[in-house]
Symmetry: none
Subunit: 422 residues, 2 copies
């Protein structure tokens, strides 16, 4: 069982756009037990798409085409598929109604060009696009089942999750290898230090394949295994994960797929506690991350972006003395900010950041990358100091994650306090 | 003149790694006047690499292969090339010395496996790798010149810059077109509406190639042109850009590469004005974006994330009457929030957002995706209403960009007011 991808778009060939769709689809198909054997990227050119399709259906049993389904003149994927199938493009009434309804909901008059999107190759099976007007569809040819999806990532993903992956899992149920993954997500430690603590990695690779995936917030350890049976795959994952957690458990915020903000949100939901955030250097990023979770109004009451010292004093009540003697970037200021925002918003917990994101504003004692994060709650006030040496945006993300991790640790402690083991 | 890329590596197919090498090479080749026509990505599998090479040399005059040149068992690109050329792999003395010297410089004993890297297909032309032990090399076949480069991005780029691009520029000197780009960035308008306003696009395509690139914040129009001379390329860009700006200028925030936050920051820097932000639905994202610009403390005084009504009233001074009669998501609340934060922070300008990011919380009158953005400044108070139908995170970004665009328009008006044309 394997899959071929055909990703379409001039923007993928002229250096404009990174092919994130291909990576996402590879990941999802690999997890489903249908590894991708080949990706072909071509421009918005009918002949290229057509010949890639002809090659792919001879090559793999699953073919996924993305891109080139927009309403404009340079979108020719549908025409290529119609030529491949030897059928005309015909207007689909259901699709036309969906497109018209989409524009009506937006309160916008539909540009006539969008009607072009209601035309699909005759005989294909439509796949609902909940997020846009570009249609997705499925057809079969020779031994292959083919899916055609829009190139807009959110729309492509929505259709793949709802209509492509479930279909494949059902269709090929009896033939899929047992592929299992586990993600061990860490923050607050460098990739090379993780590597050292786990050395030699060959011990772990007796059981699983191990990849180190550094990103903006930390480093993920990605364990993967292909085995004959699910039981064997699970057992090997368990052994490897146990080995790893024993060595680096203190840096792990999640074994699984949840983001740190989701982990924190789930703890807050479970404890019915509220939080408010005072941000200097992260300037709203912590609040933004905390509110990327649906339902976040249950726990986030509000926040203050205290960029100027005046706002720190006037709104958050940080004392002039602290600012004068310790400075705006200090443990004391972080503590007073956390306590101040907790008070101001009437929240159970207060969280704060103050630091120097750079690239300017550093001094020998307080370098670029320095941050103090603060927490205030029923279990007291705590601050932590970190230095990250990155560019501005990465520093902001590292700072925000340091603050969220501090909050996570206290939420775990509060949970233990609320319901002590019997 | 066009190029084919073959990118090799299992990690590109199992969802682990984004193919940034392909994007980088596409960009460099496009700018050099040799657009990439096709990218094929295959795993570390000799047969797949071989058949991709056979296809590519029939297809393009320039072929670049990356990846699979490491020292371990799963690196088979060299073997595939040797099979393609019908020659054996032979040890290269120069390369062996280079690899040994590299290890010596690092002060590490050379693992014997690295000697494998000194073997290359007989007869190829070696390309110096200044950063690593994997060899790059060049060969010709039929009408095509082929380059084989390591997959490690830094090494690939170093060899491409030093040995591939200069070679191509020299070899094809007389046949390379002058390539020029221009980016016209819009926000607050749908891709299809832009297309309608510019219809028929064939008018513009007399001069340039036009691509519509929708992203989280809006739609970029990317103009590209290949011409015989640079002067002709520039002239065609000028004509096309003039034509476009005349029709959709009101939605354009930038002709060039700057982000909207950078455009707003440059206006604020230029006018020495300060701003403060009150955010409900965007919950810190506007402040975060405004502070991604280095030096932003000169213009951003602070902000309030007013997620709860209590914070809206208590901190921002939104009246209970407005919240009760108009609701938290209303033009009146947006206006009072903008005025409130301006006052509270002592800023020249106030900016506000209130809306429903979803996926829950919508009603028939106030659907998910509805947002009111508010501005308060020396030229008065203004609010705008938008409806975006996207998922939560995209809605937040659209909301934030709508607010920043409102601010941009007022900054332009203030600039005209400050220095009226003589």
């Amino acid at each position: 069982m394997k899959a071929d991808l055909i990703t379409v778009g001039n923007e993928l060939l002229d250096g404009t756009t990174l092919n994130t769709n291909a990576k996402w689809l590879c990941d999802r198909l690999f997890r489903a037990g249908i590894p991708v054997a080949r990706i072909v990227t071509v421009g918005d050119a009918k002949e290229e798409i057509l010949s890639s399709l002809e090659h792919a259906v001879r090559h793999s049993e699953v073919v996924i085409v993305t891109g080139g389904l927009g309403p404009t003149h340079d979108d020719v994927t549908k025409e290529a598929v119609a030529a491949f199938l030897g059928v005309p493009l015909v207007e689909n009434r259901e699709l036309r109604a969906h497109i018209a309804a989409m524009f009506q909901r937006r309160g916008v008059e539909m540009p006539p060009v969008n009607l072009e999107q209601a035309r699909v190759p005759r005989g294909v099976c439509l796949l609902q696009n909940p997020l846009g007007t570009a249609p997705g569809f499925r057809f079969e040819r020779d031994r292959a089942v083919c899916f055609v999806l829009p190139g807009v990532p959110a729309e492509m993903k929505a259709i793949a999750e709802a209509s492509v992956l479930p279909f494949l899992r059902k269709r090929f149920r009896d033939r899929l290898a047992a592929v299992r993954f586990r993600n061990i997500r860490t923050t607050g430690i460098f990739e090379s230090s993780l590597f050292e603590k786990l050395a030699p990695v060959s011990q772990i690779e007796r059981w699983v394949h191990l990849a180190f995936l550094p990103h903006r917030f930390g480093v993920d350890l990605r364990l993967s295994v292909q085995a004959d049976t699910e039981a064997e795959a699970e057992e090997r994952l368990e052994r490897a994960a146990g080995f790893i957690l024993e060595r680096i458990g203190e840096f792990v915020y999640e074994v699984g797929e949840r983001s740190l903000e989701q982990v924190v949100a789930d703890l807050l939901f479970g404890q019915k506690r509220t939080v408010a955030v005072a941000e200097s250097c992260t300037a709203g990023l912590v609040s933004h991350l905390l509110t990327n979770i649906s339902g976040s109004s249950a726990y986030l009451l509000g926040g203050v972006v205290a960029y100027s010292n005046e706002v720190k004093q006037k709104v958050l009540g940080v004392s002039a003395g602290t600012l004068a003697t310790r400075g705006a970037v200090s443990a004391e200021t972080a503590a007073e900010m956390a306590e101040g925002i907790k008070e101001l918003a009437g929240a159970d917990l207060g969280l704060a950041t103050t630091g120097i994101a750079g690239p300017t504003g550093g001094t020998p004692e307080k370098p670029v990358g320095l941050v103090f994060v603060g927490y205030a709650g029923p279990d007291g006030t705590e601050t932590q100091r970190f230095v990250f040496h990155r560019e501005r945006l990465s520093n902001k993300y590292r700072f925000a994650y340091a603050a969220l991790n501090l909050l996570r640790r206290h939420l775990l402690a509060l949970k233990r306090r609320d319901s002590p083991p019997v």
